[in-house]
């Protein structure tokens, strides 16, 4: 299950859907908008998606990774204008044990960044803005090229029950 929705996105339904009595490990990742990038103060982000293909490819990725690791997985991504602190992307993986859930969650967020047609425009203090371009390769190492320093600093959080964990203070994924 992969969903695109206009900001603000609410991952609660996906969380409920993934949680299951046979899953003892539930890892999810929240990518949130960070207020700085490469030394510049970021005032907001604008996500634009090629919806038809993004949803198709997103669903394929979720299925692929769920199957590969034997987990339940889901993800959603926001579109439109966001400000620092807002939830941009949510990825969840639930499995019998934490190991697969961690791996699948990590793999899914990397794959979404590399393979789903979504683009991001950053606005900075002072009024300027620019499109941030990811890396064209499918290695899944997040932002590249124009923005060599990875913007990913979110840390997946796990629990040992189906009860979802706090997201912690992750920033833009």
């Amino acid at each position: 299950m992969f969903r695109l929705a206009n900001h603000p996105i609410d991952p609660a339904p996906l969380r409920r859907e993934l949680a299951s009595e046979d899953c003892g490990g539930f890892v999810f990742f929240e990518g949130r908008v960070r207020d700085h990038h490469e030394g510049r103060e970021v005032t907001g982000l604008y996500y634009e998606a090629y919806r038809e293909l993004a949803e198709k490819e997103g669903c394929r990725l979720v299925r692929e990774i769920a199957l590969k690791h034997g987990v339940r997985a889901a993800a959603m991504h926001a579109t439109g204008g966001l400000v620092p602190g807002d939830l941009a992307v949510w990825v969840g993986a639930a499995a019998a044990h934490r190991e697969e859930a961690f791996v699948a969650c990590r793999e899914l967020i990397d794959a979404i960044k590399a393979r789903v047609p979504i683009w991001k425009r950053e606005s900075y203090v002072g009024g300027s803005s620019g499109w941030v371009e990811g890396c064209a390769c499918a290695a899944g190492h997040g932002d590249g090229r124009r923005t060599p320093s990875s913007m990913t600093s979110g840390i997946p959080t796990a629990t040992t029950s189906s009860d979802a964990a706090d997201s912690g203070r992750s920033t833009t994924s």
Partner: protein, 278 residues
């Protein structure tokens, strides 16, 4: 050929996007201007042929000596030209063609004329766009019974012929198989490059940085490119977009497409800059 059928070449458009008079431009190897070429085509099927121009507009190159019908003041767009034609010859059927359709071949007009000959009571004989299925009013036959219908719409402030044909639920013809791109019009000098016989007409949607660079979200493009990869290079060159084929990918009909993916008329193409979700 058919003396009852009158020809009307619509050349009154302002060509604002072309930056010069479209009707006077030469596209083909035959050295004919758009107007000259279209008039020759109309003469194959019509008795008298007229040139429709705005008030005060000079006759385009290639249209010398052809009787001119001036748009009635207060009229709007091509409808003003078509109404002026009916006022000239109320009982006539008019084969109407816009001057910016360089891909129209005789076979395209022949099918319209043949259909009208089967049923001369028809007010409209028009094609469906290969792209969106909507009526193509600027390469069509308007029978005498179309005049009151058009007048009624004009009186209500409807000046868009496409909308009128839609509202009248006109049954539409399919374009000949070999000419599905025939009604691609030419609006910019860049289009001219693609305006050759055999061109495909595709729709391009633009996203993100590329939409900004191109200054458009969506457009129809005539292209001679046969594959997705060729089309990427062509569009990059045409609009100086600097699209690196090693970095920018192509989607056709909402699916990732390899370079060799063959393009067809009606395809929806999207160029994909590196993604930056998350």
């Amino acid at each position: 050929m058919n003396s009852a059928l009158h020809g009307l070449l619509l050349a009154g458009g302002k060509s604002s996007r072309m930056g010069c008079d479209k009707a006077s431009m030469v596209f083909g190897d035959d050295g004919l201007t758009q107007a000259g070429r279209a008039l020759r085509l109309l003469r194959q099927f019509c008795g008298p042929v007229y040139l429709s121009l705005r008030e005060g507009q000079p006759v385009p190159a290639g249209g010398e000596g052809v009787p001119v019908l001036r748009d009635a003041p207060g009229g709007q767009g091509p409808l003003a030209g078509i109404l002026a034609a009916f006022r000239q010859a109320r009982g006539a059927a008019w084969l109407v063609m816009a001057c910016d359709l360089p891909l129209v071949r005789p076979g395209v007009l022949a099918r319209l004329v043949a259909r009208y000959a089967e049923d001369p009571l028809l007010p409209f004989v028009a094609y469906a766009s290969a792209l969106d299925g909507l009526p193509e009013p600027l390469c069509a036959v308007y029978g005498p019974s179309a005049f009151p219908v058009l007048g009624r719409h004009a009186a209500r402030g409807h000046f868009c012929p496409r909308r009128i044909l839609r509202e009248e639920s006109v049954p539409l013809l399919a374009l000949p198989e070999v000419d599905t791109g025939a009604l691609t019009n030419v609006n910019t000098p860049q289009d001219v490059a693609g305006a050759r016989i055999g061109a495909r007409e595709v729709r391009v949607a633009w996203f993100g940085r590329l939409a900004e660079q191109r200054g458009l979200r969506e457009e129809s493009v005539a292209t001679t490119a046969k594959t997705a990869g060729e089309f990427l290079r062509e569009m990059s060159d045409r609009h100086r977009l600097g699209l690196d084929p090693g970095v920018v990918r192509v989607a056709v009909n909402d699916e990732f497409a390899p370079d060799a993916h063959p393009l067809q008329t009606g395809d929806r193409v999207v160029f994909l800059a590196p993604f930056a979700g998350g």
